[in-house]
Amino acid sequence: MLKGRLAELIDDRPGDGVFRVSRAIFDDPEIFDLEMRHIFEGGWVFLGLAAQAPQAHDYFTTTIGRVPVLVSRDGEGRLHGLVNSCPHKGSRVAQRLHGHARLHVCPYHSWTFDSAGQNKAIKWRKAGCYSEAFDASSHDLPALPAFGEYRGFLFGSLSAAVPTLAEHLGEVALLLDLIADQSEEGIELVPGEVTFTYDANWKLQLENCSDAYHFTSAHPSYIRVLEQRKAQTDASVVRSVWESSDYWTGDAQGIQGGSYSFRYGHVLNWGRFGLSDALPLYDRATVLAERHGDAKRDWMFNMRNLTIFPNLQIAENASSQLRVIRPIGVGRTEMRTWCIAPKGESAAARHQRIRQYEDFFNPSGMATPDDTVSYENCQRGFASRVEPWLQGYARGMTASRPGGNLFSEPLGMQPEFSVLADAQLCDETLYHSYYREWARRMLAGSAA
């Protein structure tokens, strides 16, 4: 069905300098249903961190598309990705966001599963007059057809027809290393999850994370507050990481950052921060350089917004946020968000990270609401088909280069495309990677 429509949804003609996306992909319920089936339920999605189930028998729950998922650590310490739905009548078995359970007892008819998902009991089985055919079938919680971990980041797929996780992540693994290597002990989520919704399509969040162009337009009130705090600083206000650099103001000269696009729809946009004591990582700067070299350490200090398509974003800018995008409907999205942090950092660094986080990232803060309300304004505007093509994918068209550049080389990273940007370029070609992968998965699914 989609195959015949693709040309009216994405207009991708590199030779002509054209890349356009139709408003329809944001507000057509049929397309949303196909996205759920072919993108979220048909390929790798991010599930959570291994650190969310640190001990034997710890677990957390999440979703892949519309499907409830249980990630559980068994008695031997192995992680399992399971469909969180009882084989008996379909009820969700684990009810809580996270917890600890040697046994999961279905609250409906008491079928019982161990922390590896294996069925341990069917209530009154002997008296149940079951057939041999029943006895011959598995009663375990189904394992996800694909489940994998890279350095504490857990991914799963409801389809077995996916590349290996290593291939899916590809070069982006090097960018996850920049997070995982900030502490020898690894990474963790600061206690306290913040969940919010907005009434607009999930891809608005996908794009906004990669959108350098909106910052000074959508967030001037936040920027002005930071300026006021810097002018009159005292112990009651938290310092801002933005004060360490002016790349984002539009005034800075020379190369200030840029973007990288990778296979399978992953992207990074980045900017120069430098080694500033306004960053919580500052007290580790020397140790990290000794351990990883100056170039990699400097990358850890850069502003970095990473998307691993389709649902994971790690934003290291004002502070450090891990976001999981959960589409609910074509015009409604839920965001589950956490402060991600290196384990074992100093109490002062952790405190600073948390305060910087709350002011910028929370839906009760001074920046995110100005994004989400803008998404909702876009969603309203998408109703128009007078001119269906959006023009938000054109900046950077003549700056995009195949392969990497002098900044990716020290990491040994080979992106598909790269853009080196001055302060005002604000590349939009990195979104092309999203929509090329979107089209690939939608077409592959439709053909199946």
């Binding site: 999850e193 913040v194 009760s364 609401p369």
Partner: protein, 166 residues
């Protein structure tokens, strides 16, 4: 003459704060807070446990110092925040006011709140509800807020919450 806070006076104080927020009289609202005031909205660790330690756990809002609330007021009025322009209409309803402890010049007051919000732009109404805990100090002849803790119970946030809607 004792200044010990009665239940009636405590309720009047909370109602007065609510009215200032409802009517957007934010300068007068800020006047209720001591310069060193703590304004704290915990997040939740899970379904049943709010975060307890703002130094090591995430909050929805945590400020130590009225100056930070002044920043929030400035932002909401600035015209530079699309989330704050135009403002939603709000009404705070406060019940179950209980003076938990009262000294000569300080008191702890707990209460329940319901905030109804109507956003004309999106034509949506929301209700936020939870519990307040006010620590009040009697300074220069008037009660002032030394700490306000807002435990928001329905914390899946529909797009925006701000100091005026909780």
């Amino acid at each position: 003459m004792t200044t010990r806070l009665s239940g009636t006076k405590a309720a009047e104080f909370l109602y007065a704060e609510a009215l200032l927020l409802d009517e957007g009289r934010w300068d007068e609202w800020l006047e209720l807070y001591l310069p060193s005031a703590v304004f704290w909205v915990p997040a939740w660790r899970d379904e049943t446990t709010p975060t307890q330690d703002p130094q090591s756990e995430l909050s929805l809002i945590y400020y130590r110092g009225r100056r930070n609330l002044e920043d929030r007021v400035w932002r909401a009025r600035s015209g530079m925040s699309v989330a704050s322009t135009p403002l939603s209409r709000v009404v705070h309803a406060i019940t179950n006011v209980l003076v938990e402890s009262a000294g000569e010049a300080d008191a702890v007051v707990s209460s329940c709140f319901t905030v109804h919000l109507f956003d004309r732009r999106s034509e949506r109404s929301h209700v936020f509800f939870g519990r307040y805990r006010h620590e009040l100090h009697h300074v220069d002849g008037a009660w002032r807020i030394a700490q306000k803790k807002i435990l928001l119970l329905n914390d899946v946030i529909p797009t925006v919450i701000d100091f005026y809607s909780i």
